[in-house]
Symmetry: C2
Subunit: 184 residues, 2 copies
């Protein structure tokens, strides 16, 4: 028997979405933006996409610098997630406002956010126009993880930190915090 369905009003409802703090810049200027329109888009080579509205302050910076870091915050960083998602880098210094510490990346210009346990260095490969947003596709050139979140065997242990997700369907942040099963 078919379920009773209702038509939903808006289209960007995918759940869950990642919560990425994207850092971009060089010695002269640096910014952090919260982006949930992001995904792995290829595996060999590893490539990731981030969608950005061209009028956003970071857009020109992303184009000029040609690289960016996708930093994954924990649920302890929700105030910073809100600041970087609602304030413009035109008006405030996001590292100063959040208390985050910039840390040099290994292969690109843009700095990582030290406090985020997972940092993905990306070099822009292609920019695709998709309407309101342009999609920056980047090659993943290095990935770093905090030693503090590794288990005794040196493997990442998700029980050591809770990761936030954004749920556009209801405009809420939720925690991803219950193990279900291995992919196998």
């Amino acid at each position: 028997m078919n379920t009773v369905k209702r038509t939903q009003k808006w289209g960007t409802v995918l759940v869950p979405c990642p919560v990425a703090l994207v850092s971009v810049g060089d010695e002269t200027e640096v910014n952090i933006i919260t982006i949930s329109w992001t995904a792995n888009v290829g595996s060999r080579p590893p490539r990731m996409g981030i969608s950005v509205v061209p009028k956003r302050h970071s857009y020109d910076l992303l184009q000029r610098i040609g690289d960016f870091v996708i930093n994954i915050p924990t649920t302890d960083h929700m105030d910073a997630v809100m600041i970087c998602g609602t304030k413009s880098g035109k008006n405030i210094d996001k590292f100063g406002a959040t208390g985050f510490t910039p840390m040099p990346s290994t292969k690109i210009s843009s700095p990582m956010i030290s406090e985020c346990p997972l940092n993905i260095e990306c070099k822009t490969w292609k920019v695709i126009e998709v309407g309101s947003h342009n999609l920056f596709i980047g090659d993943v050139v290095a990935v770093h993880i905090d030693e503090a979140v590794l288990d005794a065997n040196g493997e990442p242990d998700l029980t050591k930190f809770a990761i936030p997700a954004y749920m556009p369907l209801v405009r809420e942040f939720w925690a991803v915090n219950q193990f279900l099963r291995k992919w196998e």
Copy 2:
């Protein structure tokens, strides 16, 4: 002080990723594939991307049909998620194997999965080559939600169903099940 970081071996580590059951087909052939390489890529118009390996059985079907449905399962559907992610539609009928019920979409050929509480109808707009995967970008043409997961005001209520996430960093599925805060 900077955190001690370790370089991680593989590049596709984004957490969390959605778990999408993508249904595609018509009266002659239909298939379901599990895809975590998916995101909102634009808001106005709403557009979503799914990344698919060209040698996958559904690839030709996606190209021929020109539309697809992104169905979001609940944590009760993990066996189906594994079947649709590891078996090929060349060898088995995925609707039969999972026990899922196809339900006609309202604007496209591909059927929805009745048992999934959220169904997003997409019409392919563009296909981008990104290496191992090709990225299908689709216009969201309709969204449906089960009435059973709405609250008294007719709004979606995420406490009524638990949504799975895929964590590529550790190759594990986790549940998104703790409210943190509203986006505002």
